[in-house]
Symmetry: C2
Subunit: 225 residues, 2 copies
Amino acid sequence: MDVYDPPMTVQTATEKRPAAEQSPPKPYHHGDLHRQILCAARDLLEENNIASLSLRAVAKKVGVSHTAPYRHFKDKESLLVGIAGEGFKEMTAQLNEAVELHPDNPRAQLQEAGHRYVKLVAENPQCVQLMFGGILPCDDTYPELHESGDIAFTALKTIIEDGQNAGMFKKGDVELMALSAWSSIHGLSLLLISGSINETASAPVETHALTTAITVTLLEGLNAG
Amino acid sequence: MDVYDPPMTVQTATEKRPAAEQSPPKPYHHGDLHRQILCAARDLLEENNIASLSLRAVAKKVGVSHTAPYRHFKDKESLLVGIAGEGFKEMTAQLNEAVELHPDNPRAQLQEAGHRYVKLVAENPQCVQLMFGGILPCDDTYPELHESGDIAFTALKTIIEDGQNAGMFKKGDVELMALSAWSSIHGLSLLLISGSINETASAPVETHALTTAITVTLLEGLNAG
DNA sequence: ACCTGAACACCGTTCAAGT
DNA sequence: ACCTGAACACCGTTCAAGT
């Protein structure tokens, strides 16, 4: 038996530890450090930007030594991949909510999804830049990442197919139609967070109205003849 | 007179220096160092990515000490701004070429511009990520950058207006129509370089066909009733 | 004017060591 | 099992000094 049994430092919310038990000598930090690092990294990422996110700052924020994160992530890139993966999951969740909100109405689903996509990007710009911004390798180094993206894209294709089956959308290459829809909304979202639109526009841009206009155009293009 | 006159190291292409003139003792590096740094930085940027571009590596590539770039750029960010600025200028140039290639045919101009945009992004992905990727501040810290973007966007709006005046495109908010067109193509371009499309698509994607399909959809949306 | 080298505070990463 | 501190090679940036 050469297994070291670490001191218990995780406390359940309901139980109290006996106060008299002589406070342990600064026990190892604990309590799902993996998740805490991920959260702290996300926070720091959105507070500044990808370029200035440091592993050491993350560790400091969580309150552990700067080498502790290596117990949970192979390297900095792995941590970034973890953050990006959560982003894709959130994206899928938003898509699914949009579908559930308007059952049997693919047109409304698509419009809702568009608005939610723009909102999600606006609220997590740095995370999105990480997901699509050329920092992470786009080859198959991290297959989980592509899988997460695939799931979201499949959900989008399902909306298109449902619309075709309901006679709302024209027949045609589902892949292409989904890609076309994604491109419009993705482009709009990224132009918005990059500051390209608010600055170039002569008048201040109303994001919501702009999004509506673009999804409407999009839907016109998908309409059944 | 306390002005130091540096040894001449710039050689014009047409004149020869007398070979006998005893080679100067390793003269200061020279010959538009500003431009050389910019070019080297662009090369290194596209070879890897923004995150791993270092000022010291740029200096090394050019063959000067690691502090020399500070004579020409306030800091690393200023260098990045310089690169991004060149990207916007190139974008405008491509737009203008597309216009000149199809005089009096806004529809063809827009289609051509779309293909050129996708191509430019595909050939300079890291530079584009720099232009739109949230590394550079999007507030008014670098007004030159916004101006460069404005010029490109204005060129796009001109195409739309010309199309309206020629009766090819429907009447409507020019700003909005231009933004809509830009969003589609921008989104497609970025999804392509991020690797999101080739991986998610069940079949390998033909970029050119995809671009054509999207610009066609775009043009349908702009068509005069 | 333009360039250099030493110096500083920061990184990411590794590794032997501690509990 | 999980965490630490020292160590290494790299950064960006500043500054006195050289030509």
